[in-house]
């Protein structure tokens, strides 16, 4: 199974994207409701980071989402995510929750969620494009 979409960099689009993802992942047999919700959440977090931090919520820019599923894994790739501090200095994801609370920190939790939910997470650049690759193993 494959799916792809291109979205403008505007946080107003997120609810619509989640609806698209929920509909698509309902067709995947090996996913129960909880796993489906978690995967949609991880993708939503990655897209939110790319829109807000990577592309400054600039709706003249767009990001591309590609999903490829086989019997063993879900492969998700986001491209044109921009380069943002949270990825380049992603120590926030390793921060203890008590420190997050003490620092009254709002950001950084999205990356924590992504790394907790996905089995593989990788951010990289190639040919002047930036990517987020996430893999969820099914079995």
């Amino acid at each position: 199974m494959k799916a792809n979409l291109t979205t403008i960099c505007n946080i107003d689009t997120q609810e619509e994207i989640r609806a698209f993802l929920n509909k698509f992942f309902r067709g995947v047999e090996d996913l129960n409701d909880q796993k489906r919700n978690q995967i949609v959440l991880a993708i939503d977090e990655a897209i939110a980071n790319a829109i807000i931090h990577g592309n400054d919520n600039d709706d003249q820019k767009s990001i591309q989402l590609d999903i490829d599923i086989n019997s063993k894994r879900i492969h998700i790739e986001l491209s044109d995510i921009g380069l943002f501090d949270e990825i380049m200095n992603n120590d926030k994801k390793d921060k203890h929750l008590k420190e997050v609370i003490k620092d009254k920190q709002k950001g950084g939790l999205g990356l924590k969620l992504i790394y907790s939910i996905m089995d593989v997470v990788c951010f990289y650049t190639q040919n002047n494009k930036s990517y987020c690759l996430m893999v969820k193993l099914l079995k």
């Binding site: 946080i11 107003d12 997120q14 609810e15 989640r18 409701d33 909880q34 919700n37 978690q38 959440l41 939503d44 977090e45 939110a48 829109i51 807000i52 929750l97 997050v100 609370i101 003490k102 009254k104 920190q105 709002k106 950001g107 939790l109 999205g110 924590k112 969620l113 907790s116 939910i117």
Partner: protein, 113 residues
């Protein structure tokens, strides 16, 4: 996302309806900031109609947690569905936040403090 507030017996109840994400969390943050300014620090969050929460929504609660405690208040959440509760669980927030089943338990817990 719809945010409805109700203040009674020194308890502010914030009812959330819909999806709490990067966009809607801005409104929630303003709501809680205003409540703090008005010294409404005992806050019950009614999650019965909350369908989704992202890190941005969680971030709003986390960022105000210590301020509420400093003023002798707190958050109590009730009526969470399984998927919303699971997001709290993934980050370990279910052990830090006070989460109960229903309004009665929420009020009881709030009045104990």
């Amino acid at each position: 996302m719809e945010i409805i507030q109700h203040y009674e017996d020194e308890i502010l109840t914030i009812q959330l309806t819909g999806e709490l994400d990067a966009k809607s969390s801005i409104d929630l943050d303003e709501t809680i900031k205003l409540a703090l300014l008005q010294e409404k620090t005992r806050i019950v969050i009614d999650c019965q109609r909350l369908n989704y929460i992202s890190s941005a929504g969680l971030g709003v609660f986390i960022s105000h947690l210590d301020d509420l405690k400093a003023y002798g208040g707190k958050f109590v959440f009730y009526g969470m569905n399984g998927s919303v509760y699971n997001v709290f669980e993934i980050l370990g927030l279910h052990t830090i936040m006070e989460i109960v089943r229903d309004r009665f338990e929420a009020q009881t817990l709030m009045n104990e403090s």
